[in-house]
């Protein structure tokens, strides 16, 4: 939204405020005026005004509140200029532009999140819109994170916003009767945001904005808002447990480290215990689901003192349960990877080959195949599979890892869980 290239120190302050609060201010403004597109424009105007005003007067005591007031004023101005919006204006004008209430921040974030993840919007658009409107990434940042083109992402976001406005999709947490379906959509998108951010942001560059942090923040907010929804707790636990291993997933210069090669002393024991406690709290609600099962699998990995002593039988059993909730080929593949530790290798390879048609363009399938082929001494086929895997991923860290394996001609491992 701003580049803060100016020399004034308030420009930097503004950039920090924008980064921290813009999503909340857009959601609060959108909830107030009922129009997401209008709210975004009004907040963009407010940022421009702040840039000039704060250079003159210095930083106001509550910069976020200042921006929100300015955004509401701008929204009213824009409505006054637009003849077609007179009825909306008539509803809004009697409302005093009050100092925003800072107490229920998450209400606004979650209301906007539910609108962005409405099931009537396609999954890729839900994700792009959430990253834009709730998390506050720029279109180019989203395009980079999703390995897509700026124009494609911009179109997707614009179309989704129009759909929200045209259909009167409410910027609100849904009524309890509709919550089950709607929450599942939201949890899925937050998990995707985590996954997409997971590999792409931790790359060559140092700590750029970490999507994983934003996803965790949303998962925490959802779990806090719906403490009796087992799957909301399941997602929170899953992200806590995966992130607890994050320090060991990367070397200091940004190379990817496979699960079996990770230094487990770098895992965050406190976070692992916290994650397991959340899984147990979710389990006590007696409403199992796919996020709880994935969290339980992550917990087994996190509890294992070493890769060799991992409880693979238990993990395969959990994958079998997960298959009943999510029969996707990716889950089948992950099950096959776990099963490879307790089955004869050729049986495991047959399981993986059975998925080859469904996952022909999925890099991980080919790297798994390569690993199993190598164990069977079929080295030439293994190298071919690794080459195929490499051609199917754009992620620099994954590519580097595969290149190393291809060069060595005989790798050791399957990759991550």
């Amino acid at each position: 939204m701003t580049d803060s290239t100016g020399s004034a120190s308030t420009d930097h302050e503004l950039a920090a405020v924008v980064r921290r609060e813009v999503a909340r201010i857009v959601s609060a403004t959108a909830r107030w005026c009922g129009d997401l597109a209008l709210a975004e424009d009004a907040v963009a105007d407010a940022v421009v005004e702040a840039l000039a005003a704060w250079r003159r007067t210095g930083l106001p005591p509550r910069p976020g509140g200042w921006l929100q007031l300015a955004a509401r004023r701008n929204a009213l101005d824009r409505l006054r200029r637009d003849q077609r919006q007179q009825d909306k204006l008539a509803l809004l004008e009697p409302l005093p532009i009050a100092e925003p209430d800072a107490t229920d921040d998450h209400q606004d974030d979650l209301a906007l999140l539910f609108a962005c993840c409405h099931p009537a919007i396609g999954r890729p658009a839900q994700l792009a819109l959430t990253l834009r409107a709730v998390i506050g990434l720029t279109t180019s940042e989203i395009a980079r994170a999703l390995l897509s083109q700026d124009t494609a992402i911009a179109q997707r976001i614009t179309r989704a916003k129009k759909k929200i406005v045209a259909n009167g999709i409410r910027l609100a947490v849904p009524a309890p009767s509709a919550l089950a379906d709607r929450l599942d959509e939201v949890l899925t998108v937050v998990y995707l945001a985590y996954n997409e951010g997971h590999l792409t942001t931790a790359g060559a560059q140092s700590r750029r904005r970490d999507l994983a942090d934003d996803a965790q923040w949303l998962a925490d907010a959802l779990a806090a808002r719906f403490p009796d929804e087992a799957e909301a707790l399941g997602l929170q636990a899953l992200l806590v447990l995966l992130r607890a291993r994050d320090h060991a997933r990367w070397t200091p210069d940004g190379a990817l480290v496979r699960l079996e090669d990770q230094d487990r002393s770098l895992w965050d024991r406190g976070e692992i215990e916290r994650g397991i406690a959340i899984v147990e709290r979710a389990g006590a609600l007696r409403r199992p689901g796919r996020f709880q099962l994935q969290a339980a699998i992550a917990a087994l990995h996190a509890e294992a003192p070493s890769y060799a002593s991992t409880d693979w039988f238990q993990i395969v059993t959990l994958y079998d349960m997960l298959r009943t909730y999510d029969p996707s080929p990716v889950v089948q593949l992950n099950r096959a990877v776990a099963a490879a530790h307790v089955l004869p290798v050729d049986a495991a390879l047959a399981d993986v080959d059975a998925l080859a048609a469904d996952l022909a363009d999925y890099s991980y399938l080919h790297s798994v195949r390569a690993h199993l082929l190598r164990q069977l001494g079929r080295d030439a086929e293994a190298v071919a599979a690794d080459l195929r895997a490499r051609s199917l991923t754009q992620n620099p860290a994954e590519r580097a890892l595969l290149a190393e394996r291809i060069a060595a001609g005989s790798g050791e491992s399957v990759g991550d869980d």
Binding site: P119, A120, A166, N167, R170
Partner: protein
């Protein structure tokens, strides 16, 4: 909010191929369904249409005058077989209602839910 439900049906003989009595049973369910939601004030208008093969389409012709064509505006495996006008709280309510459209028991049937322009 007002939404329109556009009912899409297979333009082939799918319905005629259903086991004996099935189509009749579903038609009855449709009548009951429609009556209930109309009585509740959710369905405020709508009609069932004759087959697409009975349609006449008028469009601007090459001579800049309206020209007639025999048939619906798009020939496809699916055709509009009816419509309903809804007045409900929001899209969630419209979708929840559309999901219970009794014809959805038949393969190839669909419902498109679209908001109307607020005038």
């Amino acid at each position: 909010m007002k939404y329109v439900m556009l009912f899409g049906s297979p333009s082939d003989d799918t319905w005629a191929q259903l086991p004996a009595g099935t189509a009749e049973r579903i038609y009855e369910e449709i009548m009951t369904w429609w009556g209930q939601h109309a009585a509740a004030g959710e369905i405020i208008g709508g009609e069932r249409l004759q087959a697409g093969s009975t349609a006449t389409t008028i469009r601007l012709g090459s001579s800049s005058k309206p020209e007639l064509a025999d048939g619906p505006f798009i020939e496809s495996k699916e055709e509009v077989s009816g419509f309903g006008l809804l007045e409900v709280a929001d899209l969630d309510a419209a979708i929840a209602l559309a999901k219970t459209w009794p014809a959805l028991q038949v393969p190839g049937e669909s419902v498109e839910v679209r908001p109307v322009f607020a005038m």
